[in-house]
Symmetry: C2
Subunit: 403 residues, 2 copies
């Protein structure tokens, strides 16, 4: 009997560990692998042969792992390059050495590209006994083909809750105090997270990357809100940009190792605009930063359950020895009450594409989102899992990469 | 039978409404007032005769009110000035007109000064049938005489939880990625909130307003952490300052209506320092802003229970017709398991003083807090109340000032 490895990549989420827990539990229920290894720090750690053995994880640890945010196995932003075969050879040798038949890789766009590239490489070299399977995760919700991505709904729930709570906060002072609150969310290319703030019912102005930013329309809308009710609640995605594609965020933009622009500061840019034009005398920015993807005390039960089941599903699919180069995903069922089914798709159909927030779901003049968008978003944040605490704080597993 | 008014002032908290709920419930259990009015927007709204009638609040609304953050009655930053008797005369006339015997005022330093000033004025003018009672609230935990302040513990719990979660987030990448995460908390003059982050057990460097900021020591400590484990977690209070008293926060400082410095940006100032000196190549700032005082899905059960009981206690005290110019507070009992008793103190002993985080609880070189400090903080964040949800979001009462 051979082994498998599960590893995590990219930015963490509140439920990314639930998928690891699912893979481990599936193998306990149907042990098609002798060992389930955890690869530390994604591909980067696997290339350095840094593994832990998760095979016999206790039920208690499994449950605690599901409520632990961020990547318990560690992460990386290391990308296999197709024009550099050395890493591929090395990885396959390491898999052979440890008799690892299947690599489960949990991640976003770039990770699905890694899965596709590895499967292609193996096929090209007639290697039939190594398999590569992707499990989706990203708070950005921008993967193609899957109805939504694990991690998104929990972040969306935290954002909508925080919008509701900080809206209550900014409204407490009398009408004589005119004030704008700007909430900045993640979302480099897709506005899903920012749009989810609308679930609170409190967003006056919503700025998404999908709609070019128009200074005049924005300021007109701020003025309307301030004139009408003396307060204005703005939500902006970090990736908001002008018609020419440049980001509205203040300050210099840098590139990360993959050539993506490093963002932050869209909220501050809007604040400067509002104050400089004297459209409102007071303006505060709330940038949720990494808290939005790691605030796992706010997990959506739907999200956590699906993340876990995607781990189960990925493992179960590999009972079929030809299953490789695939990503598992969720498809919303066409029925009254929210429900999903699980399916698999070629990873190269997901890799390097971005699923944008649909243009037809965006109301004009930054007035938020359509009823269709609400119908899509609402069921995803439903339910709150039971979270266990220790000394007043949520109980978490110690990261495996630090043990 | 006469009436009473309850009102809220200053910055809101996650449990400030629990105190209102307590006053209302106490009068339902022991109706010493015919009506319990809610004064909208604090003294400012009372002076404009903006009231709602809370007397017959249902049990369900009372419970929902207790889990609703921010001031449901609205707030103000209006301060009665002792040298301007007009407001005093006007307020007493309005109380007489509506047969209001007692004003319960929920707030911090400034509100206790209002309570003291009104009681003094009444005494000076031989007005014996109007009474003024303060209930403490402030996330800053800086009121004298009470062991701690309602609102603080829930904010502390959110801060400690967020520290734990974002610490997990910043640590996921391999050691080759050297990175500093700076969490900025509220706390203009007192370091209680920043110190509470230490409950997570993950804070490497803690900067409080109580200890003068020394650039060299700080950078030495950052370097040590980065050299040792490639990551460094810094927590800084917005009120951190140099030995000469100037704030470390970047940008210009302004004053609010009370002459307090308006802060923000201590985290950004530290980030600039770290990057300019190349002490670490990467640095992120997480500024919790108003979310830390309004994130009521993270209420501490201890905090919420005490806030409610302080409302009960304040009302019960006023069965004594001489009870005026007082603030109710909590005193920690000297026993093994955490417990408090409720007491009352002259409001002028609380007004305009600040209770600092004790110097003897601060470890040298920003290494955090002593065991004594932990023993003080730990019991306060215990327990999680049952929160009801609607459509995936916490159920809140509609603010009374918007009805």
């Amino acid at each position: 009997m051979s082994n498998c490895i599960v590893a995590q990549s990219g930015g963490p989420t509140s439920v990314i560990n639930a998928t690891v827990a699912g893979v481990v539990k599936a193998n306990q229920m149907n042990p098609i692998y002798e060992h389930v290894f955890g690869g530390l720090n994604g591909i980067e750690g696997i290339l350095a042969e840094r593994f832990v053995d998760l095979t016999d994880m206790t039920e208690e640890e499994n449950r605690t792992l599901q409520q632990t945010p961020s990547s318990a196995l560690g992460s990386c932003r290391y990308k296999l390059k197709r024009d550099n075969p050395e890493d591929f050879e090395k990885l396959l040798k390491i898999m052979e050495k440890h008799d690892v038949e299947t690599l489960f890789y949990i991640g976003g766009n770039d990770s699905m590209d890694t899965v596709a590239a590895l499967a292609e490489y193996a096929e090209k070299h007639n290697i039939t006994d190594r398999r590569f399977v992707g499990c989706p995760k990203t708070v950005d919700n921008d993967l193609m083909h899957t109805d939504h991505c694990p991690g998104f709904a929990s972040a969306a729930k935290f954002i909508a809750t925080t919008t509701l709570q900080t809206w209550l906060d900014v409204n407490v002072y009398p009408a004589s105090r005119k004030e704008v609150l700007i909430l900045e969310t993640m979302g480099r290319d897709a506005g899903w997270l920012a749009a989810s703030a609308c679930l609170s019912g409190k967003v006056d102005i919503l700025i998404l990357p999908e709609e070019p930013f128009d200074t005049d329309v924005f300021l007109k809308r701020v003025k309307e809100c301030i004139d009408e009710k003396s307060k204005c609640y703005v939500v902006v995605s970090e990736g908001a940009r002008f018609a020419d594609g440049t980001y509205i965020s203040a300050g210099e933009s840098k590139n990360d190792l993959f050539g993506h622009a490093v963002l932050g500061g869209a909220g501050e840019a809007l604040k400067a605009l509002i104050l400089e034009t004297e459209t409102a005398p007071r303006c505060k920015v709330q940038d949720l930063s990494t808290a939005q993807r790691s605030h796992a005390t706010e997990q959506s039960l739907v999200d956590r359950t699906e993340a876990y089941r995607l781990g189960l599903s990925a493992h179960m699919h590999t009972a079929d020895k030809t299953f490789t180069g695939k990503m598992v995903g969720v498809k919303r069922r066409d029925c009254e009450e929210y429900d999903v089914e699980y399916f698999a798709i070629d990873a190269d159909q997901v890799a390097n594409y971005v699923k944008h927030f649909p243009a037809e779901w965006i109301l004009p003049e930054y007035r938020g989102i359509t009823e269709e968008a609400y119908a899509y978003l609402r069921p995803l944040i439903n339910g709150t899992p039971y979270i266990t605490f220790k000394d007043g704080l949520p109980a978490y597993v110690e990261p495996y990469y630090l043990r």
